[in-house]
Symmetry: C2
Subunit: 312 residues, 2 copies
């Protein structure tokens, strides 16, 4: 058993238009790279953080990468100490599940170094504790797909019940991250506490259609179902250029397009990699035309979750 392991944990798109708070999927890039090594002394030390431009705390009680490990160690009754080297290879505060990726990488790596006392599925509650640090609430719609890969439905939070949903192999995501910032807490606070029943019925009809389309590989159904009549109309106001970018994506052949998580990133799904590239480029261009710089990521759905890059 190695004493050191390097883990990649993927970015994730939560909500996926009509699946607010219950659906997310993982991509193959971008993501976090976390090196975690066992050490003699107990306790967790974050030795180094790269790629965050100084934004993230090295205090192990305040960084999701380590916060997810502590309750895991307590659960399995281990006193093991770890040093952590965190390389953010994805934008922060972007709506791409940056904190979830770190939380997953940390606890996933620690579990491997300790000989996998828990299954990957069993790590979810601990990764959620890391996520709770970032968002104030223990959400699972980024953490669960980052940990398990693919599309994941959070059917219920109490009790926690996650369902892996298959997706067709040619499904690609184009994700555009504009260089503007929205805090998740703000994006959440502007949502209404009450919604219209007629809108809710539309939303759950669409979500049921999206789930059905994913099971059957019916791209047209996936596309028709990707409509969010509840959250997008409110949150998109916070993203300058949202309408133009979405229109550009749909015009270039995307199946559907929406806000990634709480934004400001915008994602689109396409039924092949070429279209996904074209869609991504036109989204980037649409932001550029508004004077907004952006990062583009085009990737198939990540079906595996975290990867072990070296060690173990």
């Amino acid at each position: 058993m190695a004493s050191k392991v390097k883990i990649f944990a993927p970015a994730t798109v939560a909500n996926v238009t009509c699946g607010y708070d219950v659906l997310g999927f993982a991509v193959q890039q971008p993501g976090d790279e976390v090196t975690i090594e066992m050490r003699e002394e107990p306790g967790i030390e974050i030795k180094k953080i790269d790629g965050d431009q100084g934004a993230l705390p090295k205090n192990p009680n305040k960084n999701t990468v380590s916060v997810s490990i502590k309750p895991f160690l307590k659960h399995i009754g281990s006193q093991q100490g770890f040093n952590i080297y965190l390389k953010k290879k994805m934008p922060l505060g972007s709506g791409l599940g940056s904190s979830a990726a770190s939380a997953v990488a940390g606890v996933y790596g620690a579990n491997i170094l300790l000989g996998e006392p828990l299954s990957v599925e069993e790590l979810l509650p601990f990764a959620m504790e890391g996520e709770a640090l970032a968002c104030g609430v223990a959400h699972a719609d980024n953490v669960a797909p980052a940990l398990l890969g693919g599309f994941v439905l959070i059917r219920s939070y109490d009790p926690l019940d996650v369902v892996q949903i298959p997706s067709p192999s040619d499904l690609y995501a184009s994700i555009i991250h504009p260089h503007i910032e929205i805090a998740t807490k703000d994006a959440r606070s502007i949502l209404k506490k009450n919604i219209r029943m007629v809108d809710a019925v539309k939303q759950w009809g669409n979500l049921a259609g999206l789930i059905s389309g994913l099971y059957t590989g019916n791209y047209e159904l996936i596309g028709r179902s990707m409509e969010d009549v509840i959250v997008e109309p409110v949150r998109s106001v916070l993203i300058p250029g949202f309408d133009q970018v979405k229109r550009a994506a749909m015009k270039s052949g995307a199946l559907g397009c929406g806000i990634s998580g709480s934004g400001p990133s915008i994602f689109a799904l396409s039924n092949n990699s070429n279209t996904a590239e074209t869609v991504g480029n036109t989204m980037k261009e649409a932001f550029f035309n508004l004077g907004i710089q952006s990062d583009l990521f085009v990737s198939p759905i990540n079906q595996k979750g975290p990867l072990i890059l070296t060690g173990s």
Copy 2:
């Protein structure tokens, strides 16, 4: 080509707990028997209605069995006249889609007699017009499963988009119809126009879980997902004994239990026919203990929709 055909169209369970207004399934019994014959003179005449205890109108403009045929004839440009003999073999106003069954049987039979100018799927809008007569609005969650069989998702009403959802072969429904009456319009009017976002999230998480369970034949997931936090708490108040009957069903091994359509019938799903029989009997007993007579129907899911009994 025969000039006369006898059609069976099935009863249906709409809403299916968490799928208010978007999900329904068909059963093998009870249902309507409609004999429809071509005649020389144009126009539609309802010659006879049995089993309705005089409740249904013979006026062809006021009975769903004929109202569904008129727009169909107009659409295909036919002046054909028909005589109709309607045998209600299911309770009226029971939440089992009685008007939908008649509407489906009528237009399905007329289409066959005319040499099937339209596909079964294409008959849906016409059957919905019959249903609109009964409910005031053109709903499809009874009509679509009665016409297509199995579980049917109404992803969207505008444009109309229906998706057939597979279900495992050992899934059985127990349906209990208590001898009390609720008008669909009343049951609809007591629902709130606004609902809490947290409840809506629970509901669409459950619906996505139910759809997923149906695709994978995961009975436990189907059961866990059959929870309605929005409509059932309001409508169940109209059904005396609902809580006792549901508790009886769950205690006897049902996967889940809820109101059929707008009630007062209550349905339960089980993962085999024996359990479904037991569940049905305990539901009947629970009503009986409250002094309420009831009819019990136990049936597998009807995967075929209407049946041609004779003719064609």
